[in-house]
């Protein structure tokens, strides 16, 4: 069975409202990607060298990356020759198929935060500057508050001007407790205090915000590792979850980002933000391909409930298929 059919059938069984958020949130990304695929298939009767080159262009312009793109195209060419497929539409399905399988075969994924049985579950949130860490944290807090969890925020970004204030405003809007340190105090000490308070106050989920840091800055990466270590002193095994926030507009540097952060803390997933723009976020496929890190949540808009569980079917469906 071709993947298009498979996806459509699978989607049909899913919650309609959630799928709609994907479809509308990704409408701008899709306009480019899906339409280009579609137009391309209409322009050709049979595929040829030229056709594959244009496929390559579409994938690269979605930030899937050079090496993964070349591999996907190569595999598609091989398969089309072996099975004698020449119909452009079928070739396009094969491409989506490869993207899907390549991602899915790296293992099962549970999106929701995995809570520990006893005591607070700690989520550490990290990323480079300006990707939307603080906003994503607010959205995650909102999500789990709505699920009846006791959530606490911890403002361990003591570096950027206004960062503590930004998170504090969110805590007021969400009516959840927050732990802040003094300006320019050691972020690890704030995180430690957060872990302590979370235990004392019987919190279910402690979300630790950290300053944006570029992955090539050794000192700052060491600082992040220290934050993680210090939390585990107060709560063994914590942080239980560590998310890397990646901006959908990110290009090939995203792979380096994921790699360096993975070397520094035990990443358990990626949150991809700003998917409501025109970017396709193809870098998540490259990251999954090279490092195996799965996307757990996807930011599809500015509203509080525009953070969804990442669902590969829906992502590809939203990107390639839905009209």
């Amino acid at each position: 069975m071709g993947l298009f059919k498979f996806l459509k059938e699978k989607i049909a069984k899913k919650n309609v409202k959630e799928t709609e958020t994907y479809v509308s949130g990704m409408s701008k990304s899709r306009e480019n990607f899906a339409n280009k695929l579609d137009e391309l298939s209409k322009r050709y009767k049979e595929v040829n060298q030229d056709y594959f080159e244009q496929l390559e262009e579409i994938l690269i312009e979605a930030d899937v990356g050079v090496s993964l793109t070349l591999r996907i195209i190569e595999e598609v060419i091989d398969e089309s020759e072996n099975s004698n497929i020449k119909d452009p539409k079928e070739i396009n399905e094969l491409v989506v198929d490869k993207m899907f399988v390549g991602y899915a075969e790296k293992g099962d994924i549970v999106n929701e935060i995995q809570f520990v049985n006893d005591g607070p579950t700690v989520l550490l949130v990290a990323g480079v500057n300006g990707v939307g860490k603080t906003t994503s944290i607010a959205k995650l807090a909102y999500r789990y508050l709505n699920k009846g969890k006791k959530v606490m925020l911890c403002a361990a970004d003591t570096f950027r001007a206004g960062a503590v204030e930004q998170l504090t405003i969110w805590s007021e809007r969400l009516k959840c407790p927050i732990v802040v340190g003094k300006p320019e105090s050691d972020p690890a000490s704030v995180a430690y205090e957060g872990a302590k308070q979370a235990k004392l106050q019987g919190i279910d989920l402690l979300i630790v915000d950290t300053a944006g840091r570029l992955q090539n800055k050794t000192n700052l990466m060491n600082e992040l590792a220290k934050i993680s270590r210090v939390i585990s002193k107060e709560i063994p095994d914590a942080p239980h979850e560590a998310f890397l926030v990646i901006d959908a507009t990110t290009g090939q540097n995203g792979v380096l980002q994921a790699k360096q952060f993975l070397d520094c803390i035990k990443l358990t997933g990626i949150v991809i933000t700003k998917m409501d723009g025109t970017s396709k976020g193809g870098i998540i496929l490259a990251i999954r391909d090279e490092l195996g890190i799965p996307v757990r949540f996807i930011g599809l808009g500015e509203k509080m409930d525009d953070l969804e569980e990442f669902d590969l079917d829906k992502y590809l469906y939203g990107l390639c298929l839905a009209k």
């Binding site: 701008k28 262009e57 690269i60 312009e61 979605a62 930030d63 990356g65 050079v66 090496s67 480079v128 500057n129 300006g130 990707v131 939307g132 570096f159 950027r160 001007a161 206004g162 960062a163 204030e165 930004q166 504090t168 405003i169 969110w170 570029l214 992955q215 090539n216 800055k217 050794t218 000192n219 901006d247 507009t249 990110t250 290009g251 090939q252 540097n253 995203g254 792979v255 380096l256 980002q257 700003k274 409501d276 723009g277 025109t278 970017s279 396709k280 193809g282 870098i283 090279e290």
Partner: protein, 450 residues
């Protein structure tokens, strides 16, 4: 490895074309293929890559290979020159008004660094040009954005005009302009909220601000890490606002920043500034040649050299150089020099700028930094006489110094060896000064203290 540098790739191809004196389609094909991949990996837009490579090919075919270069170097040179030219064309300076405030407006997607860059620009204009600058907080949407700008203003001692979050940004812009005129500011820098280029309502808001204050400059912030879509963003902002320039932010990361090329190539909007760090002094005028190196993945030697120049007091450095030339270079001088180098930031950061150095591991970098600290401890345990005359350091003195500094005899010997190789280098420099010829093997030997 996906991110093998272009020069490394060329090394491989080079073997096949060695000795050919003219560039032909045949001997260039493979190299251009690598150039193409290098550009794509740097996030240069697909179409731009295609056009650019074709352009280079036309220029290069038939070009004679300079006797000193091999064909692959020749191709790199042509590619590099073309890139530099493309990136650098157009007006890159800010034109200041003489008798009224110059108004600068910053726009861009969320998280590209507008607020930080507003502070950096203000600081640059105040410190380097002696301008009287007013910052205006026009981001009423992101929580605490105004707080952020106010804190930045305090840090650099520049006033910030704000009206809270319940006023329309258009109104804030108008009032800020009035204030800039009334209080005779030289420059007004308006920070605006981040927005998606497809958000019609918010794009209209920018057009309204534009129409009501008529800024001299509208600068778009572009994140160096941005991917293929950057060009769509820039095109949309340009068509609704007629941008006058680009600020590339986060160039202190290791992203290659190919979007700079795409945007310049497809919109013609010049790149004016580059954000190079988290400190409020970390904003540079844009250097097209360095950006070309970076996009091609060739390391950034010039930045390294300039960074060193900036941080090292020029007088001190000249004194060092003179002492060196005279052969009067003591351990004290060596320590001073080391400290200045340390001031440049971690050695790791510097090494990243040097081409051909990516193979150095984190462990090696840390070892290098640790060694610097060891040397400092050892030199601090010496008497002034010993520092000036290291040749007197015989066994008993070494034992004392080792005890005093908590280091071993071997550490001390390593330091002395370094010192000697420094002296050796100086002798070669003197020779160079006399003959005007660079001795072979000059430059910083790997692992040397630079």
């Amino acid at each position: 490895m996906a991110f093998e540098s272009l020069s490394e790739k060329f090394q491989r191809i080079l073997k096949k074309v060695r000795g050919q004196s003219r560039l032909t389609e045949a001997n260039m094909d493979e190299m251009l293929k690598e150039v193409r991949i290098a550009l794509l990996e740097a996030d240069v837009n697909f179409k731009v890559v295609k056009e650019f490579v074709e352009q280079v090919k036309q220029k290069a075919i038939g070009a004679e290979v300079y006797t000193k270069l091999n064909p692959s170097q020749m191709v790199v040179k042509i590619v590099h020159d073309e890139l530099t030219e493309l990136l650098g064309s157009g007006e890159s300076e800010i034109k200041y008004e003489k008798n009224k405030p110059t108004i600068i407006m910053l726009v861009g997607l969320q998280g590209t660094g507008k607020t930080t860059s507003a502070g950096k620009l203000a600081n640059l204009m105040k410190k380097k040009l002696g301008k009287k600058v007013l910052l205006a907080a026009g981001d009423v949407y992101r929580p605490a954005a105004i707080d952020q700008l106010e804190q930045i203003g305090k840090q650099i001692d520049v006033p910030v005009f704000s009206m809270g979050t319940n006023v329309s940004p258009v109104e804030i812009a108008k009032k800020a302009k009035d204030k800039a005129y009334n209080d005779h500011f030289d420059v007004l820098i308006l920070d605006t909220a981040g927005r998606l280029q497809i958000d019609e309502l918010l794009m209209k808001e920018l057009q309204d601000i534009n129409a009501s204050i008529n800024p001299n400059e509208i600068l778009l912030l572009v994140d160096a890490m941005s991917g293929q879509d950057a060009i769509n963003v820039a095109k949309a902002f340009n068509s609704s606002l007629n941008l006058t320039g680009i600020i590339m932010s986060k160039l202190d990361g290791d992203a290659r920043g190919g979007s700079a090329l795409s945007i310049k190539h497809l919109t013609g909007v010049p790149i004016k500034f580059a954000g190079t760090g988290e400190k409020l002094t970390d904003l540079d005028v844009f250097h097209p040649d360095r950006m070309a190196d970076r996009i091609l993945g060739m390391g950034d030697v010039v930045t390294l050299v300039e960074k060193v120049q900036e941080e090292i007091d020029e007088k001190e450095a000249r004194k060092d150089a003179e002492l060196m030339m005279q052969g009067k270079f003591t351990l004290d001088d060596l320590l001073k020099q080391m400290k200045r180098i340390q001031k440049l930031g971690s050695l790791g950061g510097l090494l990243k700028l040097i081409p051909g150095m990516p193979k150095i591991t984190d462990e090696q970098k840390e070892a290098g930094e640790k060694e610097m600290k060891n040397f400092e401890a050892i030199i601090n345990s010496m008497t002034p006489y010993e520092r000036e005359n290291p040749e007197v350091l015989k066994n008993s003195r070494k034992v004392r110094i080792a005890k005093g500094s908590g280091k071993t005899n071997a550490d001390i010997n390593r330091l002395l060896k370094r010192y000697e190789s420094m002296l050796e280098m100086m002798k070669k420099m003197q020779q160079y000064k006399k003959t005007g010829r660079m001795p072979p093997g000059m430059g910083f030997p790997p692992g040397s203290m630079m």
